[in-house]
Amino acid sequence: MKQFLTFVKKEFLHVLRDKKTLLILFGMPVVQILIFGFALTNEVKNSQIVVVDYAKDIASQEIITKIEASRYFEIRKSLAGSKELEAAFRTGEIKMAVIFPEGFNNQLLHQNKAQIQVLADASDPNNATTLTNYVSSIINDYQTELNQENPLPLQIKPEVKMLYNPQLKGAPNFVPGVMALVLMLVCVMMTAIAIVKEKETGTMEILLVSPFKPLMVILSKAVPYLLLSMVNVISILLLSVFVLDLPIEGNIFLLFAESTLFIITCLTLGIFISVKTDSQQTAMLISLLGMLLPTLLFSGFMFPIENMPLPLQWFSNVVPSKWYYIIVKGIMIKGLGFSYVWKETLILFGITIFLLIISLKSFKIRLS
């Protein structure tokens, strides 16, 4: 036991004395959360649009005021002709144009029917759909107001309620994703490098020629990163609660326990990589490419898994971060309890045991 503690203490010294490692370890989560929180967001905000008002009557003005009031749009100066409009679309200055024909109000009042032209830049289809939806709903709003005095005889009105995330903020989606990503990167890469480093510098040679058990080498390498990663989980949660205003709906201890399990999964993955490689560079490359991409692609936080071809959907099942992502989303955003995430927990547990066993089996007790 004393051997083990000394070994763990030694690992801590390695980490704490290496400024670069420390920076990656604690800088990366903070930077990623902030980048995803503020810069890389797929929410549509302040899109540049143009309103061309040929009508200039009371109805058009009221609608324009409503559009202006929304936080989704920023109205730029009206352009005169259709040529300028086209040019502005081409250069990407504007994303949408709303055009009111002459006599808009008249048509509305006398023919009970008026038209507004909405042009959207569909080179980014998601964005265009979102923008046109927003405008349509604004126009619908106005229409309902008009009809208040004399409601239509037959009416079906869908009452839409956005559950768990009524304001459709991006944060609830990406915080669990970033947690999966950061823990995956930090734990896998750091442990993989830490063990391979001993091989590369030759210290493994001395460790092997000692009574110390291989299992102990592996465990004592993993313990410091387990503790440091838990600090990371805390800092990510603090950031998301206090900076991104994302409350934790579920049980925080459950969330913490699940995170610990995921960290252990990642650590065993790192150990597995380190057992199989001989240089720090290879270990780093494998952990970066082999972990970062699958986590981004197959955890479901950037691209919905249901839309992928079947083989890829099957593959996503072996990506640990997918299960962790589901768990965190469930607990953090939906406030679910353990009874709803036990299956995912079990899968993570299984992956961990599997990796640990094959790492121990393939740990070399000799050189080469």
Partner: protein
Amino acid sequence: MESVVVKNITKTYGKEKKAAVNDVSFSVNKGELFGLIGPDGAGKTSIFRILTTLLLADNGSASIDGLDVVKDFKSIRNTIGYMPGKFSLYQDLTVEENLNFFATLFETTIQENYDLIKDIYIQIEPFKTRRAGKLSGGMKQKLALCCALIHKPNVLFLDEPTTGVDPVSRKEFWEMLQKLKKQDITIIVSTPYMDEANLCDRIALIQDGKILSIDSPKNIIQNYPDVLFAVKAANMYELLKALAEYPNRLMSYAFGEFAHFSFKENPNKADLLQFLETKGIKNIEIKEAAVTIEDSFIKLLS
């Protein structure tokens, strides 16, 4: 009593099965200082790794204090000390932290075996808070020796401990080994430096994975079959060229500021002198030379 026994060890590497160790056998007695002497690539490190249970030999067997290096590798790892050729301590830990770590690893403490390392440790103690990576070459080796000794091993394996170390530190290092020998620790040391061979009790001269000769340095020198001469002249290059053309020549090669030379039969200094003078060599000086290990090695290689 035999401490280390090596029998017909062979080790090959790679697809082409190049033999790094070729049918090597030797044995080392308890408390003996045994040297493996040979140039780089002779197979010294491979032999060390096989004996320290780090590599498996293709053929042959070896035992340490009666324990088989393959079957009983776990027990062997408790009882030997190993200092690899490459500096293999933690560079970012201090001298004291390194020593403490290895002491704990072997389930002992610095205090328990302080006597053993005292003479060596006292020299690096002033720097005990310095990181190992920042030490000079000689001090690094002293620290590595301390770490390899801290658990009072029965057999100590030192793979080229003095390579890249300054002459003064090298001398000190060998003095320490002499002291350790008195503690009844068997020491197997490898070195490419022939001058260090004289400091061993017995040496094995090794080249291309084969042992050429095993004996005490004294016997190896005494068994040198020829009379060896040292020749000096104004122009070394011309001298070596002329010596190579001498009919009664057995061997000639540069050795420091001299050329070492031996006759095929009937050593005749006067005849050699006359021959060299006819070749136009100036300032010729010929004297009998004391045989060194290096001369024996060159003789064995020829």
